[in-house]
Symmetry: D2
Subunit: 313 residues, 4 copies
């Protein structure tokens, strides 16, 4: 019951056709729908719902909203009732306000990021179908990403002024939507200030992460790849296409993920994230990264971490 | 809420010391407890609860019981009430009847297999700990399996006499414990007779599978490995140790799993199962394997399937 | 100096178009030339010479000849002089008798297999070129094999009648063309009867192998893949295309090669062979496989070796 | 005939015991000999000769000499005669002057680096032996490197003053020891100034490389790993051991090598180098990297190349 997974992300892009070229030929998605406002809807080959990414043409990069899919239609009622009982603003919207979806709910995280919840989205099946399916389809492009795996949001963080939206968002998702906190980074004189948080509703290490910054924004959206070899292929694909500079293959200490970053043409950061890491089950002990280990937590394999940090932040 | 995952399997072995040698040096588990009856309790390095395998000395191989861990203690009350309202026999047991566990419930599947449910098990953390953990520990042995992933049970199947415990078990877990059916094999003149079923409560492709046979039994227990390279390593480990014949590395069509089988010294079949395959989420379209594709469904990479079938069955 | 590598193999196929479909869409080769006799010439993407495979239309499968490329034109003179001094029949042929090649030599191995030597073949470069090349080209098909790696010939073997062409061929290549014997299988009451031989002129574990049989023939031709993941991809490609049954992924004990076998539509056995194994250098200790270990030597990962043996032989 | 491979490297280290700890526990070598001067001799598990690395205690890091093994004892006479006819200084030394080796020759490259040639070295076989060998031995440590693969030397390069020891060394090895130039980096107004060179005598992409610098020195020694997964393991091993900063996993454009760099405790750079890349055969077209592609040539996967370049140079 409740939130089932990250269903989609709605990104701002400055040139939709360039963005489509990136998400199709580098990431390996397919365009499944266009709308009169010029938005494009895309899905990965291993997803069944009709889109996991909406590209909206605007004049700057960034995130517009996140969509979480809930398990049952009745979950929407339960969540709305709970939010109202807690006096948290939440808006109910008719079917198709969220394109191709049933009725939905909209609210904002403490950080200000906009979240939609929905129980139904038009589906078109995975690219291998559901009858005697092959393990992967012919004609894969680019990195051939399986699915949208998670995203990371930058949250306002200014401890001198008592602002820590990483902590507020984390508490919010834990309390109101039953997310599991799988890993956290802590800092501060008492070692108890939350500076990074990884939360999940599936059995994966994270569906969403919060990292600190001067103001709210998008850190990255991440696509799932099966293993370290697939990460190399993704990095080769980007290098062969002479695309935007990015961070080279590494392992995250946090989540153990095998990772490679790139940018879409508008500057939205993409991650290709390989391997399952572990099962982020409800009773798994919470993992804590302390201040002096945070670089290893971010990029376990090290290297020129100072330069990495500059780019990464 | 409800069943969280496969928590452990209790196997019969004919020589506990030989069995320990296998599960420690080939699979990579650790012995965490012994008891006065000669039973051994083992866990994988990436599991936090104190055991996922109980080895009980007897005079023949096979399975004694399965343990599912539920998310909350109150789930036990809810499940007991539900079973009683459905007039399904279920027994409540005190803490520590199931060793190192809190109070538990015991019932039998329609196939006769014994199942225990518990919410609490003594924990000892993963081998890398929860403070700034490395991605894997030093001193891994054998295949270095991460965790007990799933098991497959042989269920009585005699359609001429109207007996299909594969179908009964599947309906039972779906109805009473909210398992998700991710994949199924069907046969029969109308193509609607269930001959194989894969069910999950986590986000993995399956926590438990049912396959047909002349009478109830164990088909295999499976351990998680991260990828295809880890499957090769597992197979090399077995070959280097001159251990029991087994099926060579292959891919399952069903679940896409990368797989390698071996036997423990008593003849219990073990699988090492690599890769995540996909996320077995509640709304994922049910995958169906029809009669003429069942060999590909079992062993996608083919080969001498007839010989494989003989061994496999 | 002398033989540099296996340059090409000329196979008999019963339907050239079907064979092309196989070598292009499953193996990943490209057709570079056709001739008036209906022959097709193909190369792998990572080869520079214009072909490594000639497909000749006939009414049954099998091998017509092997081509070895020598390092220098003058090597042809030296080899011809040596053969003549040893009274071994050898024929000198003009340029272009061997298509797209310079002058050549032709002789037969003791087993009867026909061998051509040449120093020049028309070249068209690798698919990534020689100026700032990418590590792999766009548009790879099927297994995307890098190059023709080696071949294995079946040689008449009838020890009761004193016939052992495996041994004769091996001694011939060692003595007259300076091949290095890297591994051997031995049997017989004294353990000194050569039953399998692996020989090399490059630094790879083998360029050619000899295995025993009732009469001369082809055992397989093998294509190089980079690693175990590429072997899985090759096996998936064959399975997805519903092609001929084959042996599933395994590791050879001999050469350590990661291997997967299939058949072309005429029944010529193909191997995709992954990983370097080791460097077959002149001073590497000769590896010996004794009778009781020969199954592990062939298929290290075991499985149903008896069934394997039946198919393999 | 002639040079067969890179046989060993003699490095300066500031603390032999610390260096041994690194080469044994991180790289995976074994100490096979110590001598009264405090030197340590080590080999990799897949090498048969008794050492491929000599560690000599001194007060700074660096390289003392390179050893190339020639194929036959008579090659030493031929090389000596050739050098003398070309009036290139070369010194003949008795057996055991080079420890555990037969008679040897010593000369200097134009860059000043000292090279020894020998045909015989005491051998102890690989760790898996030569009778029915397993593909890998039990008890591997650290990265479990297979063998010393190649080394790269820094050569004085000052084109303003007409000094280019990269070019001189390359011409020297090509002319006098029949090395094959597989890849080169070029720069300069006419695009013909050699700034990097990769040369081989085996069938691998390189046995030795020359890169430019202010004065002669060692760039790195490299150890062979089988594939990209083994590169990740090596990087994990270093990270888990909290060892010296290094460059993270990447792919070289030049040679296609999958690579990861670290430092030994004295500061000698080590590379773990995965995959075969291609066969560096005598007739393979020479690959050229032009000035504007040199960064991709060094680190194909990009990233923060400027920071990389600073560390790498």
């Amino acid at each position: 019951m409740g939130v089932m997974r990250l269903g989609h992300v709605n990104l701002r892009v400055m040139d939709v056709e360039q963005a489509i070229d990136h998400y199709v030929n580098i990431i390996g998605m397919t365009v499944t729908q266009r709308d009169p406002d010029g938005c494009a809807y895309l899905k990965c080959w291993d997803e069944w719902d009709k889109y996991s990414l909406i590209l909206t043409p605007t004049d700057e990069a960034g995130i517009i909203h996140i969509g979480f899919k809930v398990e049952r239609d009745s979950d929407l009622d339960a969540i709305k009732a709970h939010f109202e009982s807690e006096r948290i603003p939440i808006e109910a919207l008719d079917a198709n306000v969220l394109p191709l979806c049933g009725r939905s709910l909209r609210f904002n995280l403490p950080s200000g990021h906009e979240v939609w919840l929905y129980a139904e989205k038009e589906t078109s099946g995975t690219a291998v179908g559901d009858q005697n399916p092959d393990p992967w389809p012919d004609g894969l492009k680019g990195a051939g990403a399986h699915w949208l795996d998670h995203l990371a949001l930058v949250c306002e963080f200014n401890p001198e002024q008592g602002v820590n939206k990483v902590a507020e968002n984390t508490a919010f998702l834990q309390k109101h939507l039953q997310f599991k906190l799988t890993e956290r980074g802590v800092a501060g004189p008492d070692g108890d200030m939350l500076v990074a948080a990884f939360l999940t509703r599936t059995s994966t290490p994270h569906d969403i992460a919060f990292v600190p910054g001067p103001s709210m924004g998008l850190h990255h959206i991440a696509f799932f790849l099966e293993d370290w070899n697939a990460v190399l292929k993704a990095a080769d694909v980007v290098a062969k296409a002479r695309k935007n500079p990015s961070l080279t293959p590494n392992r995250h200490g946090m989540t153990r993920g095998l990772t490679y970053y790139m940018f879409d043409p508008s500057g939205n950061r993409n991650e290709t994230f390989g391997g399952i890491g572990y099962l982020g089950q409800p009773d798994r002990p919470l993992v804590t990264w302390t201040d002096e280990h945070v670089e290893r937590g971010l990029f376990f394999l090290g290297g020129d971490n100072k330069a990495f940090m500059e780019i990464y932040t």
